[in-house]
Each structure stands twice: as structure tokens, then as C-alpha cells.
């Protein structure tokens, strides 16, 4: 199954596949973010592969110069009982990744969560709102430059004025 996925993807999307790696028996394929929607659509609709079940989407902040943010897609094929991890990289200021909600509706909340926690925007998402944090919250808490204890005053107590903090 592993070889089939790699073979099909590399033959169809040649230059858009950046890296194929394996760790502890798990297959990870890094692709170009512009092509993610197309690749997901192919993976789902291909009769043989049929990755019809989206398990999870999450973001990662690597906190480095290039390829700082990653969006990780965790797919499952009900037919083949096979797991596949797709990964795209994105950088500021163009922190936009095409949304895959049109392929799996399950992506809706997972992408909202990723947006809420990392500030990664998903183009074409029907309802990109914050999911956990208050709507007027100005930061992205799972980024590495957000402190663990939070930013004092960023969530005002009832009846309290919001404290503006100058960031350098």
C-alpha cells in the first residue's frame, strides 16, 4: 500500500511532492501548499487509494526562518485500513493555505482550530471563526512566541478595560 501511494502521487504530481519520509512505520509526504486541495481531491476520489476519512488537521510552529508553520493532514482509508500524513509548509506574511472543506466536511472545525491556535488562514473556508478563544482575542496561543502564562490583560475581566500592550 505504501509503495502504491508514493508511486501514484509522484507520477501524477511530480514536482509538487517535496519530500517523502518514513518514521516508525508512518508515511509522511510533504507537498506544495498550492496543490494541497488538488492532491486531497485525488486521494479521496481515486478508487484504489480512497482516503475517504479525514482523521485530523493540525498546525505546527517550527519557529525557524524558512517553513516556519506547517499544516498536517492525517488521512485514513477505510477500504485499505491505511494511514497517511500529508504536510504543507507556510510562512508569514502569506500565511494562507487552501481549505479542504470541499473534500471532507470534517475539515471545517479542524481548520478553525488551526486558525485559532496558529493564525493560519484557510482560503475558501465557509466559516473561519475562532473556535476556543474569545472572538476579540488578538494573539495566537500555540505559537512559540506566545508565553505559557499568557499575556496579562489580553482577556479582560468583566467590567475591566482591555489593556493594550505594545509589541515590538
Amino acid at each position: 500500500m505504501k509503495d502504491k501511494v508514493i508511486e501514484k502521487l509522484t507520477s501524477l504530481f511530480k514536482d509538487n511532492i517535496i519530500e517523502v519520509s518514513e518514521f516508525r512505520g508512518e508515511l509522511t509526504i510533504v507537498v506544495k501548499k498550492e496543490k494541497i486541495l488538488e492532491i486531497c481531491k485525488f486521494l479521496k476520489e481515486d478508487q484504489e487509494l480512497s482516503f475517504d476519512y479525514l482523521v485530523d488537521i493540525c498546525g505546527v510552529d517550527y519557529y525557524r526562518e524558512k517553513n516556519r508553520f506547517a499544516v498536517v493532514y492525517n488521512l485514513w482509508s477505510l477500504k485499505n485500513k491505511f494511514r497517511l500524513r500529508l504536510k504543507v509548509y507556510a510562512d508569514e506574511p502569506d500565511l494562507v493555505v487552501p481549505s479542504v472543506t470541499s473534500v471532507w466536511s470534517a475539515a471545517n472545525w479542524h481548520e478553525r482550530e488551526t486558525f485559532d491556535m496558529f493564525g493560519i488562514k484557510f482560503s475558501g473556508h465557509p466559516d473561519l471563526r475562532r473556535i476556543y478563544m474569545p472572538e476579540d482575542f488578538e494573539y495566537y496561543p500555540l505559537r512559540k512566541d506566545f508565553p505559557l502564562q499568557g499575556i496579562p490583560g489580553s482577556i479582560p475581566l468583566p467590567g475591566q478595560e482591555k489593556v493594550k500592550i505594545q509589541r515590538d
Partner: protein
């Protein structure tokens, strides 16, 4: 005369509903807010409903009232230090969560627990599956009006909590597993208590079923209510008993066998209807299968150590720390800096009582996870709620929310 009346009404301050509500004087469409503080939402789930009379036109679930930032916390502590936080996610089945988390960490470190520890983990996760389903059954039956079942379920669950007390030392927030094993070996007293429980439990379950299976009120409130089709369920990513209630036989214990599940004989109950009643039957059958698994595990339980011999990853025994230099050094290093896993990323999922619970860990080679993502089943199950609610009456709301078994500690993380 009419003019006069109108003038009087105007002077009384009557509002012109027709113009104010935009030509909908009867207000057939209405927005209703349910929760976050509502007994039927099982925690702090908030739902905004759009109603047409008594029928639900649309529903928007809102999360975040229990968001504690578990993933951020995880990045700032060693792998073992995060373990107690997993208790507080799905707080109805903490032992399943402990097992799930440790399996992911062990996969990252590349170590495996000894056979005896694996069997113990299976026993405790299946017992917590029964405990979780009992809470679900009790509250679900209470939601639709059967109060006795609730009492009976909690009585049985109490017995399981007492068993946990014997096995782990605590009843509820267990933190029982360790990297490469479990905190302590299972005693003969605990095994005896488990045996006694699994011998009695099927009879008790039958009694509960007798109260519900032919109960007209229960059947009418659940049969054909909250239907979701197979295609919708796969598309929205339902998992666990909710997915098996629409006819998809997906169970990670069979599909991706972990621990010793491939050495055990059990079935995956699957129902086709996809309504509240099917979800009820799936969970009841699952409890019976769990009893079967626990019984086999107790028969097969091998002797031997319960902790892997991996000094660079697992904490040494207390008595050895005080007497041996090597162990003292390892304990110091592991406690202060954590074990050092290889650079890489792993995902490991287990079949939790609620569905697929997975941990995705990105490691940069230090003792702290660089990123830890929890794939919680309740999160995706709640996402499917609008699909189940649309078109049903507001009285069905409590039955439908109850039937998908959400735990907000897990959905909000």
C-alpha cells in the same frame, strides 16, 4: 370607533410587531440559546438553535468554555509530567487516556512495555470503557425520562471505581501508566475483585436492558431520532460507537491492533440504522464484548515484570534509586530533563470509549515535546451534531446530544 381603539392602544405603548420583526408577526422563526450551563448538554456545550416553531432548522455548537490549553502546557513539560493532564481530558475514562498517551510516547521512544503490562493495560482500558458507557447509559436514559437506570448504572460504576482503587491506588484521576509499563503491578486482591465484577455484571446489564428494550417511552424517544447517514458520518469524521451505529465497522482494536488485542477474541458490534436507538444498542453490545476481553485477559495474564528495562526512558524503581549510583543518575536526568527521544513525529491512536483518541507528537530530540496534538473523538462527534439535529423537534435535542456521548473536557482540551 376603530381609530379610537388604535389610539388607546398606541398610548399604552404597544409595539408594532409587524414592522419590527419584518413581516413575521407570529415569529415562527426563533433563535434559542441552549447552554453552556444546561443539564442536558453534558458539560459546557453551548448550542445556538434556529427554530421553526418546535422544529430545529439549524444548530451551531460553540466550544471553548472548558479550554485549558492542554497542548500548550504539554510543550512545557516532560513526557511523563504531562500524564496527569490526560486524566482530565476524557474524565470518564482516564485509564484509556493514560494508555493512549503512553502508547504514543512509547512509539516515539521506540520501546515496548512487557507483556504483563500490556495485558494490565488492556484490562484497565476495557474496564474504563464499561465505566464510561455506564455513565453514558445512565445519563442518556435519564435524559429521556428513565430514572431508575441511572441509579443502577452508577451503582455498577461504583464497583469499577473500587477496582481502580485497588489497581491504581485512586478511584478517578488515575495517572496509572508509565513510559514502558505501569505504575504498579496488579494484586491478587484486585484480580479477585475484577473476576467477581465480570461474573456479576452481565446479569446486571440484562436487568437494565429489561427496563429499556421494551419500554415504549424509551423506544419512541430514540427510534428514528437523530438519524445520520453512512456517507454523512464518514464525511464529517464521526468515530467510535457513533460511527459503528451507521454500519461502518471501524474499530482501531481490529484495524490497527495495538497492545495485545490481536491475541484476543472479540467482535465489533455494528448496527445500520444510525439513530439514537442504534447507538444505544452498539454501546450495550460493546460492554458485553469488553467483559469478554477482560475475562480472556485475566485467564491469559502472564507473569513477569511490568516495566520495560530501558534506563534511558523509564524511571527506575524507588528502592534502587536510594541504593544504586547508576539509577540515581538516571532518575535525576529523567526527572529534570526528561528522556531523549529521537527527532521525528509519530501519531498513535487507540479506540477510546468515545472514539478514536490519537496523540500526534513532534519531537526535536529533547525531553519536552515540541508539539503535542490531541485528536479527541468528542470534538469531531460534536461537529456532527447539526447534521443529526436538523429537522427534529426541540424535545429530541436532549436525546440526540445524550446519544453521541460528548465529554467537553476532551472536546475543549
Amino acid at each position: 370607533m376603530e381609530e379610537k381603539i388604535e389610539k388607546v392602544i398606541e398610548s399604552l405603548g404597544r409595539r408594532n410587531i409587524e414592522t419590527e420583526l419584518g413581516g413575521d408577526p407570529l415569529g415562527t422563526e426563533m433563535i434559542l440559546n441552549v447552554g453552556p450551563q444546561h443539564p442536558a448538554t453534558h458539560g459546557v456545550l453551548r448550542l445556538v438553535l434556529k427554530l421553526d416553531g418546535e422544529y430545529i432548522v439549524d444548530a451551531v455548537p460553540e466550544l471553548g468554555y472548558l479550554h485549558r490549553g492542554k497542548e500548550k502546557i504539554a510543550e512545557n513539560m516532560t513526557f511523563l509530567e504531562f500524564l496527569p493532564h490526560t486524566d482530565r481530558m476524557d474524565y470518564l475514562a482516564p485509564l484509556s487516556n493514560n494508555t493512549a498517551y503512553m502508547l504514543a510516547v512509547e512509539k516515539l521512544f521506540g520501546i515496548e512495555a512487557p507483556k504483563r503490562a500490556q495485558y494490565i493495560r488492556v484490562i484497565v482500558s476495557e474496564l474504563s470503557r464499561i465505566a464510561s458507557h455506564l455513565v453514558w447509559l445512565g445519563t442518556f436514559a435519564m435524559d429521556v425520562g428513565a430514572l431508575t437506570v441511572f441509579m443502577w448504572c452508577f451503582r455498577e460504576r461504583e464497583k469499577i471505581l473500587s477496582i481502580f482503587d485497588l489497581v491504581t491506588g485512586v478511584r478517578f484521576t488515575t495517572s496509572y501508566t508509565r513510559i514502558g509499563g505501569v505504575a504498579q503491578d496488579i494484586t491478587d486482591e484486585a484480580i479477585h475483585a475484577i473476576k467477581e465484577f465480570i461474573d456479576n455484571f452481565p446479569k446486571e446489564l440484562e436487568q437494565m436492558e429489561k427496563l429499556l428494550n421494551k419500554n415504549r417511552i424509551f423506544i419512541e424517544r430514540t427510534d428514528g431520532i437523530g438519524v445520520i447517514t453512512k456517507e454523512q458520518a464518514i464525511d464529517i469524521g464521526l468515530s467510535g460507537p457513533n460511527l459503528r451505529a451507521v454500519g461502518v465497522p471501524r474499530d482501531l482494536r481490529k484495524d490497527e491492533p495495538y497492545l495485545v488485542y490481536n491475541e484476543l477474541d472479540f467482535d465489533i458490534p455494528v448496527y445500520e440504522e444510525g439513530d439514537c436507538l442504534a447507538r444505544y444498542y452498539v454501546r450495550l453490545d460493546e460492554m458485553r464484548e469488553s467483559v469478554k476481553i477482560v475475562r480472556q485477559c485475566i485467564e491469559k495474564l502472564p507473569s513477569g515484570p511490568v516495566n520495560a528495562d530501558e534506563p534511558k526512558a523509564t524511571h527506575p524503581k524507588k528502592e534502587r534509586i536510594y541504593t544504586k549510583m547508576e539509577e540515581l543518575i538516571h532518575d535525576f536526568i529523567l526527572t529534570n530533563f526528561g528522556g531523549t527521544p529521537p527527532v521525528g513525529e509519530v501519531y498513535h491512536a487507540v479506540e477510546n470509549p468515545k472514539g478514536e483518541l490519537g496523540f500526534y507528537i513532534v519531537s526535536d530530540g529533547t525531553g519536552y515535546p515540541w508539539r503535542l496534538k490531541v485528536r479527541s473523538p468528542s470534538f469531531t462527534n460534536i461537529q456532527a451534531l447539526p447534521l443529526m439535529l436538523k429537522g427534529y423537534m426541540i424535545a429530541d435535542l436532549v436525546a440526540i446530544i445524550g446519544s453521541i456521548d460528548p465529554v467537553m473536557g476532551e472536546a475543549d482540551k
